[in-house]
Symmetry: C2
DNA sequence: TAGCATAGAGTGATTAGTCAATCAAAATTA
DNA sequence: TAATTTTGATTGACTAATCACTCTATGCTA
């Protein structure tokens, strides 16, 4: 987001409306498929107002990504320091991420859509590695204590993330499983069995 | 692809040149970022020729996807019937897929780019379920014989695919590991340990 | 009244797709 | 075989539409 000066309450409301409209339209019609004019119209502001808050369309896309991804990070991390065991910490992150994705499926889809688009700038990518850091530290700690296999940290991180995405994909198609605690328990063990030292 | 009449050798050559140019440009500049005019220019044909073979730009994108995905399917499946054990069959598919991805990283990137874009039509998706069928049958057989865990077939399929994508992502970033057979062996066991009944 | 937010018509650039003209090769005729 | 006609591929200038972004006039608030 691009802005010079103090951001007032009414600014924030307007910006939020633009974000909301953009998220809705991007996920249903794609980045290219949504003209800025339609975003403005859906948000209930004039075309010019959109460009008052965002330098370009690309700026809007990148800002929205940062906002959404940040939301995911905050909600997943919040409260983790109260937990002691490494396994429980990993499980905490795991279930919080799933919880977030199940309550905001559109936002998850946006993240994926963005990740595989040519809009990503190294700049944006770097800003977002907070959650990766948390995972990486956990994994490293686990390797040190001997709880987690001594395999490349990067590999473990990628596999966890991909496994998580897969599980969410399945849950979105079979939402009743999400409320089946036996299933959810098993689903975590499926991935943790890979990581843990037998 | 859209065409009326017999497709000659020279047609195929032209079409291939268009596909090649499109793949190159789409993966580096995105679907929206590449004008059809540039595809035609790169392919060395006139603008009108492109539209002679493909009804619309979207038709080109979808056709290219089908072609690439089909290539992956064919190369992964070819020879699998000579193998007996289920585990070895799964491993065969697994390593063939990785092999293909490592020799055609651009095509893999295109597949992912497409999967998370709004160009997918149900039509296209259905046409592409051939490889899924092979996997699904293998999994079902494995469940019946007791070799594979009795979990939802769809879930197992999604997890395998995601795990595979993750592994490829890692290998592309660390290509030296691809030639390390100890690593490659371990990488397969990582996923098979999830599936197999202990 | 000063200063910033908002509006929305306007602009210039871009692009998917068209179409009438051209060309090459195959088919037909002499 | 040579001349002529037919067929369909190929071309690229052109068009109609779209879109990101600008700009100036107006509104609002402190």
């Amino acid at each position: 987001m691009y802005f010079r000066g103090v951001i007032s309450q009414s600014d924030m409301e307007k910006i939020d409306k633009i974000y909301k409209a953009a998220l809705e339209l991007f996920t249903t019609k794609g980045f290219h498929g949504t003209p800025t004019s339609e975003i403005a119209k859906t948000a209930g502001v004039a075309n010019g107002t959109l460009f008052h808050y965002f330098k370009t369309k690309e700026d809007l896309i990148n800002s929205l990504y940062l906002k959404v991804k940040n939301e995911l990070v905050e909600e997943s991390i919040n409260g983790i320091d109260k937990i002691d065991s490494i396994k429980l910490k990993v499980e905490f992150l795991w279930s919080k991420s799933i919880q977030w994705a199940m309550t905001h499926p559109q936002k998850l889809f946006f993240i994926q859509q963005y990740m595989y688009s040519p809009y990503i700038t190294t700049n944006t990518l770097e800003e977002v590695d907070k959650i990766k850091e948390v995972y990486i530290k956990l994994i490293q700690e686990g390797i040190k204590t001997g709880e987690i296999k001594d395999v490349s940290v990067d590999l473990i991180y990628i596999l966890m993330t991909q496994h998580l995405f897969g599980m969410i994909q399945y849950l979105i198609m079979n939402p009743e499983k999400y409320h089946n605690s036996e299933f959810m328990n098993m689903s975590f063990n499926l991935i943790y069995d890979i990581l843990k030292v037998n």
